[in-house]
């Protein structure tokens, strides 16, 4: 049932509308709306009941194990929500002067400092509103850097073929062409291919380490030297930072610029699609180009730095200062973990991933990189299962839903056939991992015994498998009242 189907003409929710009788006296008639507005006319009870019922159709961290690889679906502490929503923070207008928000700015400033500490970078800007926007900002800084040195012919960004789709897309948004670098059998960047690709056109290389293949890039120092040697810069996609917190920093690995997904590593909620935050960190070379604003401090007073403070900045990425409420949540989370807690994140995320990988291998699953340690995630490939039974990675994913688990990431990275990218995160217990492994094992057995049952999954979700092809062919992107007649 759609909310519109609950609607009845003339139904009013009087508690939520200002007193009637006010006229739009100052607006010329030609500017006024004459079309009816297709908002539902429902009672507050209907709305609450409807959206409560909808919510119950979701799997989420709060209800299910959610081992979605590359997404770091860890527990989102409830206190982060409560404290970010404190009345004074909630009510703060972005145009309010800095001196009316010293407490608020103190949190953001300290967040910058903690991110510097955790990554080893020299300066941080909190402006980007998600990882991809962080990538844009990072690559734009690389470009601004080369431009500032008159090094204009560098028109290429290198990206491993295992990279997340945002990497090439972000590079293109910065006006670069993208060149993909192959991956070797152990999941490392093919150094020979990289050597062949770098040159005077190379603006930089974007790298995720550990990579989206769930392994640590072993040649990182060689790669660094190759790229830097060719005059390029090294960009770190921080989506997998969870795996190395406190163990190794992007700065030590030689990266010049990074972004961090606060909605992954620092546990801000993903909200069914966002909002996130993608702060960028840079070393001293790139610091002048940071996106605005940056929170500065002088004599214990906090201030948002702007164009006058950073005249070489790549500019602004949003109308205000980024996803402030998300930043506050990350701040609270990081303060609660503290230095030791930070390190434990990587330790236990890695322990969980390697344990689950070992258990799944025991259960008969084929691990994509059996000679490697898992980072905080790992890949299982169902290529052989599919050949034998016809059961695909997607089928297994859907069947997991029936067993009360959210599915791992499927078909990413694209280079591993029939892959499941599994990331348990550190906040899940051994029992949960054991239960998941048991469910996977059951599905494997079922795939051999009764493949059709797996292929027709899910069976226990609010809807059965959905027809995505139809959705894309017969576009139905908004409800129309005429539908009521159908």
């Amino acid at each position: 049932m759609l909310i519109f189907e609950l609607s009845r003409p003339g139904r009013r929710n009087a508690a939520q509308a200002p007193a009637a009788g006010v006229e739009a006296s100052g607006i010329p008639a030609r500017c006024l709306r004459t079309q009816p507005l297709l908002l539902p006319e429902v009672s507050e009870l209907d709305a609450v009941r409807h959206y409560t019922a909808l919510s119950q159709k979701n799997y989420s961290i709060d209800t299910h194990f959610y081992p979605l690889g590359s997404c770091t679906m860890k527990y989102n502490p409830r206190v982060c929500n409560e404290l970010a929503m404190l009345p004074q923070f909630r009510a703060r207008h972005p145009g309010a002067p800095d001196d009316t928000g010293q407490g608020f700015l103190a949190c953001l400033f300290e967040l910058q400092e903690m991110l510097k500490s955790v990554t080893g970078m020299t300066q941080v800007s909190l402006a980007p509103m998600a990882g991809a926007q962080g990538e844009f900002a990072g690559v734009a800084m690389i470009r601004a850097y080369h431009d500032s040195r008159g090094d204009a012919p560098r028109g290429e960004i290198l990206v491993p073929d295992a990279a997340h789709g945002t990497n090439p897309a972000s590079a293109v948004m910065c006006g670069y062409t993208v060149r993909e670098i192959a991956t070797d059998a152990d999941g490392n960047v093919e150094v020979a291919a990289l050597k062949a690709a770098v040159g005077p056109r190379t603006a930089g290389l974007m790298l995720t380490n550990p990579s989206t293949l769930g392994v640590f890039e072993r040649h990182i120092l060689e790669i660094r030297d190759i790229v830097h040697g060719a005059g390029g810069l090294l960009y770190y996609d921080g989506a997998n930072l969870n795996a190395i917190l406190g163990r190794v920093t992007p700065a030590d690995m030689g990266f010049d610029v990074i972004h961090i997904n606060l909605h992954k590593t620092f546990s801000t909620p993903h909200g069914g699609g966002g909002p996130g935050a993608g702060p960028v960190g840079v070393n001293a070379r790139l610091a002048p180009f940071l996106p605005l604003p940056v929170v500065g401090r002088a004599k214990d007073e906090y201030r948002l730095l702007g164009e006058r403070d950073l005249p070489l900045s790549i500019g602004r990425l949003g109308a205000h200062l980024g996803n402030a409420g998300v930043l506050l949540r990350a701040y609270v989370y990081m303060r609660m973990l503290g230095a030791r807690g930070m390190q434990r994140v990587a330790d236990f995320a890695t322990l969980n991933a390697n344990y689950l990988m070992a258990e799944l291998a025991k259960a008969g699953f084929e691990v994509a990189f059996p000679r490697r340690r898992a980072s905080h995630e790992f890949i299982v490939t169902l290529k052989h299962l599919k050949e034998k039974t016809g059961v695909t990675a997607m089928d297994v994913a859907k069947r997991l839903l029936d067993k009360g688990f959210h599915a791992p990431t499927t078909y990413f990275p694209l280079l591993v056939p029939e892959c499941l990218l599994i990331e348990p995160t550190e906040t899940e217990s051994k029992q949960t991992l054991d239960a998941f492994a048991a469910a996977m094992k059951e599905i494997l057995e079922e795939a051999r015994r009764d493949p059709q049952r797996v292929k027709s999954a899910p069976h226990a979700t609010p809807v059965r498998r959905l027809d995505e092809v139809k959705a894309a062919r017969e576009l139905d992107l908004a409800w129309r009242p005429v539908n009521r007649e159908r």
């Binding site: 502490p77 145009g95 990882g131 006006g175 205000h320 503290g338 839903l401 027709s456």
Partner: protein
């Protein structure tokens, strides 16, 4: 160990299953010389009670102000149900709905949102959000350039929010797109169709049309839209969603309507929150949908023929199309959209229109109270929605400071962005401002301006200040 459930026994068993002696060993592929990861200066852990004390203390010190700033972020009443429902764990802690069957809650909500938003703007299709209004405008510019093919120039009136113009510049300039400024009429405060004459005959990919514009003034959108379309440029509307409950929607502007509409969704249930998270919305004509950035939810059927929802047209997106995607956006502002959807469902169409009317009436009342103060006047003659520029007889900064000392944020000082306007202030009074609030502002302003103008005369005698 906050949030880590492992017992010593768990750790022992897990290490044994992996076949390593210690957690340390799991990191042995990291080159030895890199290991360390200092965490220098990182503060020690705080318990929940301690961080709560810290944050509450900071929030209380910051306090709250009586706010008359708008300028792209508006203080509206948000029904309590909105966030109590939106922060339910099932919405709050879910990921982007990649597994549709396990995400029907979010997906149906997005479909409902798209329906509501499409109706607000009267365009065929909307996406499921972009980061904010400013970046949505940038995406619209990129989209228009992609769709237009022959031109990489876009006309941007100076009545578009200055911060938005900066953002657009940041986001599009690396792709060789040129933004051409359009001046405004200094009397009315909006773009004059006549001002476009000088661009006649040149090839532009798009004209941006704000409604209301940054000054709160209503633009002649019909003429501007028709001008754009006549010249082969796309018309990109930037609109305020509250205003749309009252104002002619972009899809109906001029003869054939705007092509793309964008805006900031903040007024729809997002708290001011110091600047975010808000969300950007975007809508367009159906034939542009494959150029659209961002997620889109669509209806389909399941294996049993039941209605269900999925993310669709994913071939536009970075995770499929990679370097040829319509945008790099991945994570968007989903939870804000959940809140916006609930927000729009609660007052319904009449309620939202009532909110819009109340904002309008309050701002008119504010302006008339403020301009009753000697020397204070409206800067522009054009009709407004819920913001207005007023001109003070004295510089705005010290006046704003004096108001602040009384707990009042008196508006946005336009001295930096529009220095030619004199001592100008952009003010706003939404439905959340009461009669008493308006009176309080006007009283303090009268007092402050009074004080500020009088000593100015006395200051002629040098040495008289103490």
């Amino acid at each position: 160990m906050p949030f880590i459930p492992h017992t010593d026994e768990d750790i022992r068993e897990m290490l044994a299953a992996i076949g390593v002696a210690s957690i340390e060993r799991l990191f042995d592929e990291i080159p030895r010389e890199l290991r360390g990861g200092a965490l220098a200066g990182f503060p020690p852990a705080l318990g929940e009670m301690e961080i709560a004390r810290l944050m509450r203390g900071r929030a209380e010190r910051d306090g709250t102000y009586l706010n008359f700033i708008g300028a792209g972020a508006y203080e509206h009443h948000i029904p309590a149900a909105v966030w109590q429902v939106a922060t339910r764990g099932e919405f709050y802690s879910a990921y982007t709905p990649y597994q549709a069957e396990a995400s029907q809650g979010t997906l149906q909500l997005l479909y409902e949102y798209q329906t509501m938003m499409a109706s607000l703007v009267e365009l065929d299709v909307t996406n499921a959000s972009l980061y904010d209004g400013a970046s949505a405008l940038a995406e619209a510019v990129l989209m228009a350039v992609r769709a237009h093919r022959s031109s990489r120039k876009v006309l941007v009136p100076l009545t578009v929010h200055p911060a938005w113009r900066k953002v657009v510049r940041t986001l599009v300039r690396n792709q060789g797109i040129e933004l051409v400024e359009v001046p405004y009429c200094s009397e009315s405060g909006h773009t004059l169709p006549g001002a476009l004459a000088r661009f006649e005959g040149r090839d532009f990919a798009a004209l941006v049309i704000p409604q209301p514009n940054f000054f709160g003034v209503l633009e002649p959108v019909d003429e501007l839209t028709d001008w754009a379309r006549a010249g082969g440029a796309l018309a990109i509307a930037t609109v305020n969603p509250t205003a749309l409950a009252l104002l002619k929607p972009p899809g109906k502007w001029g003869g054939r309507g705007a092509d793309i509409a964008v805006g900031d969704g903040q007024p729809l249930g997002a708290p001011l929150a110091g600047g975010g998270p808000y969300f950007g919305f975007m809508a367009c004509r159906r034939d542009l949908v494959r150029q659209m950035p961002g997620r889109i939810a669509g209806a389909t059927v399941d294996a049993e023929g039941r209605r269900g929802y999925v993310l669709t047209l994913q071939a536009r997106e970075q995770h499929i199309r990679r370097s040829r995607a319509t945008s790099n956006i991945c994570t968007n502002q989903g939870l804000m959209v959940a809140a916006a959807t609930i927000y729009m469902a609660l007052p319904g169409p009449d309620g939202l229109a009532a909110v819009a009317r109340a904002c309008h009436a309050n701002t008119l009342a504010l302006v008339s109270r403020l301009t009753a103060v000697g020397g204070v006047a409206r800067a522009f003659s054009g009709a407004i929605f819920h913001e207005a520029v007023i001109r003070l007889p004295v510089p705005a900064a010290p006046v704003l400071n004096a108001l602040k000392a009384q707990g009042i944020l008196g508006g946005l000082n336009l001295a930096h962005d529009y220095s030619g306007l004199g001592h100008a202030l952009l003010v706003c009074a939404t439905e959340a401002r009461s009669e008493e609030d308006l009176a309080r502002y006007a009283e303090h302003l009268a007092r402050i301006v009074g004080r500020r103008t009088r000593p100015a005369a006395g200051a002629l005698k040098p040495g008289s200040k103490t």
